[in-house]
């Protein structure tokens, strides 16, 4: 289903015949798509479409979810994610941002320094550099530089979401997964984060799950449409909106006729 196109980067993530089950219940089936390096890849679809399950399969969170089964293949940089001996090393390459900001019960500084610390960086000066760089890239540094020691959970919702982005960046990820990041964020902050994502895509490949069709249109280079656990199609984002798509359900969804 992937349309060849001009100027496409190399494939970062190759998904083939992916199916996800929870116990006997199917959550997602028939997903085959390629995500290319340095693109923002949008995934749209109404609730319960299997978007989040898809993200969980990418970084092997099925290992932490009782009853979750993943079939098919997922290759990151040409390597099957299920053949990674060390799943922790795999996950460090994949940053995740959740719908509701999860500020760990740690200080702002420790939130961002946790991942480097887990990787074994102990030197305070090194950590300072990482923390400042990540907070700056997440457009949060100016607001929190004077209170790095206060609790992350005391920040406002929008700030917390940028904190989780900074935390994800502190992993130095190659792939950034965003799961409906703007649900609990005001429009102004959403726009700021979207700007951040546009600059980040020079370095990181981004998968953006969103239930805001217009957000996908603003940000995503290509977009896939999931519906009730079915992979409908994938294409250039603009094609989805201009009618150059094959499936009438996609058209109906992006035009707001259902979902």
């Amino acid at each position: 289903m992937v349309r060849p196109e001009n100027g496409a980067g190399p494939v970062k993530l190759a998904v083939k015949d992916l199916a996800i089950h929870y116990g006997p219940k199917s959550a997602l089936a028939g997903v085959s798509l390629d995500v290319r390096e340095h693109e923002i890849f949008g995934i749209i679809g109404p609730a319960n479409s299997g978007k989040t399950s898809f993200l969980r399969a990418l970084n092997r969170m099925d290992l932490h979810t009782t009853g979750m089964r993943v079939e098919g293949s997922i290759h990151l940089d040409g390597r099957d994610v299920r053949k990674w001996r060390n799943v922790y090393a795999l996950r460090r390459q994949i940053g995740v941002v959740f719908p509701l900001p999860v500020g760990l019960p740690l200080s702002v500084y420790d939130n961002v320094a946790l991942s480097p610390r887990l990787r074994g960086i102990k030197n305070k000066a090194d950590l300072d550099v990482v923390v400042e760089r990540c907070l700056t890239r997440a457009a949060l540094w100016d607001e929190v530089k004077d209170r790095l020691d206060s609790l992350g959970s005391l920040l406002s919702g929008g700030q917390q979401q940028r904190l989780t982005i900074a935390r994800a960046l502190s992993q130095d990820p190659k792939l950034l997964l965003l799961d409906e990041f703007s649900i609990a964020v005001d429009p102004v902050t959403t726009m700021r984060i979207e700007d951040i994502l546009r600059t980040l895509k020079d370095e990181i490949t981004i998968i953006l799950v969103t239930n805001l069709v217009q957000q996908a249109r603003r940000l995503a280079d290509r977009t896939a449409f999931f519906l009730s656990g079915e992979f409908v199609e994938v294409g250039e984002t603009e094609d989805l909106f201009t009618g150059a798509v094959r499936d009438p359900r996609t058209r109906a969804y992006v035009e707001g006729r259902f979902g």
Binding site: T66, Y88, A89, L151
Partner: protein, 289 residues
Amino acid sequence: MFEATELNRKNQKTERLWRLLFLMMTVLLILPVLIILGVLIYHGGPMITIDFLFTEPTNGMTAGGILPALVGTVWLVAVALLVSVPIGIAAALYLSEYAADNWLTRSINLAIINLAGVPSIVHALFGVGAFVLFFRFGTSILAASLTLAIMTLPVVIVATRESLQAVPHAFREACWNMGASRWQTIRHVVLPNSVSGILTGVILEVSRTAGETAPIMFTGAAFFLPFLPQSVFDQTMAMSLHLFVISTQVPGVPENLPFGVALVLISMVLAMNALSIAFRMVLRGRKKW
């Protein structure tokens, strides 16, 4: 203008009735505790002197102090905790953080809860069979403490598990997604945020252990020993058994003596509980979400 309807008035009346009923039940609950404390302090208070706490019983336990029993109880509780706390916390960590949520885990959890309800005399007999006879520890502090440990394990596990579960799951997910192993997640996020609950559970456990009589009666606590235990392989006196003995088994005990012993025992327990509440308050003040 608003007029209360018949139904409004009826609701209000019922509301008052329920409130009164619940209040009465609460008073009913507090009353016995206050009476017990009052009687103990009234009769036992005058008994409590430095001498009473720090000398041995004399004249066939009808006079003198309670030192060997006091020291013995501290030994029993300390050794029991040394065994049950590490095992209990480790088991709770496994059940809460590692085990898959399947029928086996659920039945183990159910079994643990039921184990907490096994009568202490059954644990006592198990202790005799297992520790005194089979492992040949004889009647000793070790056998008695192990029996107490077995008996208190379920409570430690349940309390720990509950404090672990109180840490939001989203924190764990965030950590795992960062590439943290389960142990790193526990070490950096879960334990620091559940330690207050765990400590509280453990300390409440101490108070229960200190007061138990049946489990130590056949396994290590002695009727009368005029000297202090030197190692875990010695027998020892214990406060709870001492109280039972002087109240029922020894003739000619002055009327106030058992009250004094009971007051010391209950003070130990209450002091522990107070400590646990203090802990909880300090640590909860630092709660971070």
